[in-house]
């Protein structure tokens, strides 16, 4: 069966993580977010997948390639063009992007799935497909109940008892929402929908196609199945998602091996569990050194090739690949890399690029310290008994 993953977005609400990485490539315990979607599609028989790309498309294409490594076939629909070698995105909207593929080759010739590339799900797609076929639906969207306070970022639907969607409302104010049942960005479609999508026009699924389907009384259904869904819409979502996965609230195959109960690691680690204070759940990527005297409290995810110096304290953090966390750092509920540090609410903390490279840095960097850096480092060392 065929499927499409919408992966062209800029992920502006997940900055600064997405400054150098497209959202589908955000690492979730060692694997890009989108890999979980590809796995799910394959498990349910969707083995021909078109990925729409635009922002930082090379990162996605050079990782997933033709899909062979993931047991599927992958093709890309690049939504943009180049001007003198510089990429210029030309987003067609979610529905316009589907239409573009259909116009190109008539690719979608049977029931197909569409997923947004920014969520991790463990949905039984086969059950959703059965529902879709039983109802002879033209479009089925997978629904989820949310607390009213959270519905404002999503499409909200009102359904009949048989699942038919009566009304569709895109991103309403929570108090004006017609229900608390939301669209998760997981869809099953029949090729018939293309009759409703204009060619070469920016056209959106949520704000244009779905209201049209509902208004015309076409067989448009919603199905609410029990499943876990972690939407990475924003930087705080990313922090929360990693915490949930490490705590086992969303089950994935942990990469690497279990070094001690709840402590997972890759290969080539420089780490003495007896000389460090590491408390589960923790994942440590390959080729990372955790020096004696370091404290790492879970749920914490540490990436590849990191250096965690003795004296560093890390609690409930996401530490990206190639990050140096120095002996002077006490990190509580942060997402850090050599380029940025953000707190769990998504607020930026200026460090590495603003004169605090001796606290957090890119582990590959060799620095010349200024007099002030030296003064501070010496002072912090002299105060270490007070500070610990």
């Amino acid at each position: 069966m065929k499927a499409m993953i919408l992966a062209g977005g800029k992920g502006t609400r997940v900055r600064p993580i997405t400054d150098a990485l497209p959202k589908p490539m955000i690492p979730i315990v060692g694997r890009p977010l989108m890999e979980f979607l590809i796995d799910l599609l394959r498990q349910h028989g969707f083995d021909q997948i078109i990925v729409s790309t635009a922002y930082l498309s090379d990162a996605i294409e050079s990782y997933f390639r033709e899909g062979t490594r993931f047991g599927v076939q992958i093709g890309y629909s690049y939504e943009g063009h180049h001007e003198s070698g510089r990429p210029v995105p030309e987003g067609l909207g979610s529905a316009g992007g589907l239409k573009r593929v259909q116009e190109f080759s008539g690719f979608f010739d049977d029931t197909f799935a569409v997923l947004c590339g920014d969520a991790i799900i463990d949905l039984d797609l086969t059950a959703a497909l059965e529902f879709h076929r039983d109802r002879k639906a033209m479009a089925t969207i997978v629904l989820k109940e949310l607390p009213r306070s959270q519905v404002g970022s999503y499409g909200v639907v009102k359904t009949a008892p048989d699942g038919r969607i009566l009304q569709f409302q895109e991103k309403p104010a929570p108090e004006a929402a017609i229900s608390t049942t939301i669209n998760t960005g997981i869809y099953l479609f029949e090729p018939g929908i293309f009759d409703l999508i204009p060619a070469d026009t920016v056209f959106d699924l949520g704000s244009q196609l779905f209201p049209l389907l509902a208004a015309r009384g076409l067989p448009f259904f919603g199905v609410a199945l029990p499943f876990s869904w972690i939407d990475i819409g924003s930087t705080p979502d990313y922090w929360r998602a990693t915490q949930m996965i490490l705590r086992g609230e969303f089950e994935i195959d942990m990469p690497g091996r279990e070094l001690a109960p709840g402590i997972w690691g890759g290969i080539n680690l420089a780490l003495d569990l007896a000389a460090t204070d590491i408390r589960p759940p923790v994942y440590i990527g390959s080729s990372t050194v955790i020096e004696p005297g370091a404290t790492v409290l879970g749920p914490t995810m540490i990436g590849r090739n990191c250096v965690i110096q003795g004296g560093a304290r890390i609690n409930a953090c996401v530490v990206n690949d190639y990050t140096l966390v120095s002996r002077f750092a006490d990190l509580d509920q942060k997402i850090v890399s050599g380029r940025f540090c953000v707190d769990r609410a998504g607020r930026n903390v200026e460090l590495a690029n603003n004169g605090y490279a001796f606290v957090i840095d890119d582990a590959r960097e060799r620095r010349q310290w200024t007099d002030d850096d030296q003064l501070l480092m010496e002072f912090l060392k002299s105060q270490s008994s007070t500070l610990e």
């Binding site: 002077f328 750092a329 509580d332 607020r347 903390v349 200026e350 603003n354 605090y356 850096d373 002072f379």
Partner: protein, 114 residues
């Protein structure tokens, strides 16, 4: 940068009026602190109301003043007031919140010396 200096109940209150105390302005900030210490002040309160970022040169100025008072002069202290959330986070990350006593208002910081 403009640095406001006032005296209150025997303490010198130093208020940087720029949002970023960084390389560009740290020299002036440091000079103001040194000047106060040299003229005999031992109780310094830095009013951080306007500051949302201090770089290592700005923090170096604060640490130098603290070291001079505590280690060279043997008494006195540098205390902070009105520290804004981004600076609080920064101080917590490098654990300097345990070195610099910090108070919600200038009055409370000044009173803490009495």
């Amino acid at each position: 940068m403009k640095i406001d200096i006032a005296e209150r109940n025997g303490a010198a209150v130093v208020r940087p009026t720029s949002a970023r105390v960084d390389l560009e302005v740290a020299g002036e900030f440091r000079a103001a602190l040194v000047q106060l210490i040299n003229s005999g002040h031992r109780r310094l309160v830095v009013d951080m109301s306007d500051v949302d970022f201090v770089d290592s040169s700005g923090l170096g100025a604060l640490v130098s003043a603290l070291k001079t008072l505590k280690l060279v002069k043997g008494d006195g202290d540098v205390r902070l007031a009105n520290v804004q959330p981004p600076v609080v986070t920064l101080l917590e990350i490098i654990r300097l919140h345990r070195v610099f006593a910090s108070y919600p208002t200038v009055d409370q910081a000044v009173q803490s010396f009495v």
